[in-house]
């Protein structure tokens, strides 16, 4: 079914356009303005052209070094949590009970971590992981593992990653579960008649049906982990040293901590650009996948 062309539809979109433009375009213009200037306080600004951008992309300067290091850490973090959360989410979705009250119970418990304010998520894990008062830290240290997320880089990383897995795997699982629910029973019966193995059913029936939701899941998880701020900030404060300082944490340090508006603005723009590019790639892949599916359905 093709959509009709109707330019008056713009009137329906106008409120959204105005609200989002007010809170996205206006602030972004301030950012662009700041990114070309330097300030010595007292609201005095000096033209700096593309100086900040040059510094930002040059690892030998202080700003560039900090930005590129935090970018590297952040990409590594995003890849690790995607590699854990996507397979685990699929497994959990496949493990959902089929009917009865347990379905609702499982869904509610799965969704619970998603609705906890992000700093409380940080607080929960901060308390849980402390060697003196937290269950996890206490048990680990008593079975002979020397675990302390405050002083040890690797422990801090493990804590932040486990926390993210705890926080967000449910989102992947719920999305996959929704995809699985839409598979008609007849598909499974046909597979049974053909004598398909468990693995074949997964590969030929379940995975293709989950494709679209999985794409949404990967997109949301990548984006949200790429701009993660509150949870690691509460737990580790970016430390020990700088070992868990992600891009957003670095940015807030520069902008609201040092009030280095020019540097912060330049960083913001580059950061936003990276997000925009990744977002565009996903969007293209997603619309292409949608079109292909339509073509297949049309041909059948």
């Amino acid at each position: 079914m093709d959509k009709t062309v109707n330019q008056k539809a713009w009137f329906l979109v106008l409120p959204v356009f105005l609200v989002v433009a007010f809170s996205a375009v206006l602030p972004l213009m301030t950012v662009v303005n700041y990114s070309m200037q330097d300030t010595f306080g007292n609201n005095q600004f000096f033209w700096n052209g593309v100086g900040w951008f040059k510094e930002l992309l040059d690892p030998s300067t202080d700003l560039g070094g900090r930005f590129l290091a935090s970018l590297g850490r952040n990409l590594f973090f995003s890849l690790v949590i995607l590699a854990i959360e996507v397979p685990l989410g699929i497994v959990v979705a496949l493990s959902m009970p089929r009917q009865g009250w347990t379905v609702a119970a499982c869904l509610v418990i799965l969704a619970l971590p998603l609705l906890i304010p992000w700093n409380v998520v940080g607080t929960i894990w901060q308390i849980f992981g402390r060697p003196d008062i937290g269950l996890l830290g206490y048990v680990l240290n008593h079975i002979g593992i020397d675990y302390n997320y405050v002083s040890n880089d690797i422990d801090a990383w493990v804590t932040v990653i486990v926390m993210d897995v705890w926080h967000w795997t449910s989102l992947v699982a719920l999305l996959c579960y929704a995809g699985l629910k839409s598979i008609p029973e007849a598909y499974y019966q046909a597979a049974q008649i053909d004598g398909a193995s468990r693995w074949a059913v997964f590969k030929a029936i379940q995975l293709p049906k989950m494709n679209r939701v999985l794409l949404i899941a990967v997109l949301l998880r990548f984006m949200d982990s790429f701009m993660i701020y509150t949870e690691p900030f509460v737990v580790t404060g970016g430390g020990p040293g700088n070992s868990t300082t992600f891009v957003s944490i670095e940015l807030v340090k520069i902008a609201l901590g040092q009030f280095d508006l020019g540097k912060a603005a330049a960083l913001s723009l580059v950061y936003n650009l990276i997000i925009l590019i990744v977002c565009w790639i996903f969007y293209t892949v997603m619309t292409n996948a949608g079109n292909e599916r339509k073509h297949q359905e049309g041909a059948a």
């Binding site: 992000w118 949404i216 977002c279």
Partner: protein, 268 residues
Amino acid sequence: MHSIPGRRAIMAMFLIFLLLPIYWLVNMSFKTNAEIVSTMTLWPHTPTLQHYRRIFTDESWYSGYINSLEYVVLNTIISISVALPAAYAFSRYRFLGDKHLFFWLLSNRMAPAAVYALPFFNLYSAIGLFDTPWAVALAHCIFNVPLAVWILEGFVSGVPREIDETAFLDGYSFPRFFLRILVPLIASGIGVAAFFCFMFSWVELLLARTLTSVSAKPIAAIMTRTVSAAGMDWGLLAAAGVLTIIPGALVIWFVRNYIASGFALGRV
């Protein structure tokens, strides 16, 4: 046939993994500080309500919950009411720049809050909304409006177009059709979108903290500040944390039957 071997064990283990840290928080909120620091106990041996009593009697604490709920509700109402007509337009019509506009909206959902913290501070100070619930509600629109459009578009597309055409032939005006026919048809979709707006506004802290100082400070920010000022009052911190989980848990309970389809954003 659908499921995998050992699914009960996997599910049980995962649920325990989810619940254990939450249990520990609840556990600590009922302990006295002396018990927390001195011994490791799996349940409160001298249970106390002192932390909860303090939160409910001290205005600087409980006003935080009211402030948070205020901007979350405001944001949900704004987001849904502007997103509904747009979702209808995106679902039914083709117009100049529609695809670009949709992508632009989506890209705002993905924009890092840290980028906007400082410009928002300037913007809302300049127009005199700083430290009001309106500032936070409007700021949260940047990620909630696109999300609401995205979800609602999926649900509107699920309504057959014949229904629109029949309504217009029957002489319904557009606003009347919209409110009397379309909105009731996608009521569950509106519920799902409202749930997501509530959720993302409720859990966000960075912008909410940056845009408020005294009179509209959200509970999440009060937690972080009071704790650093008063040393480490672990019991009080835990109790405040538990109280922030409750609204979310209530909302989940109400939408539990729509959670699955809702998380697929109406487009499976």
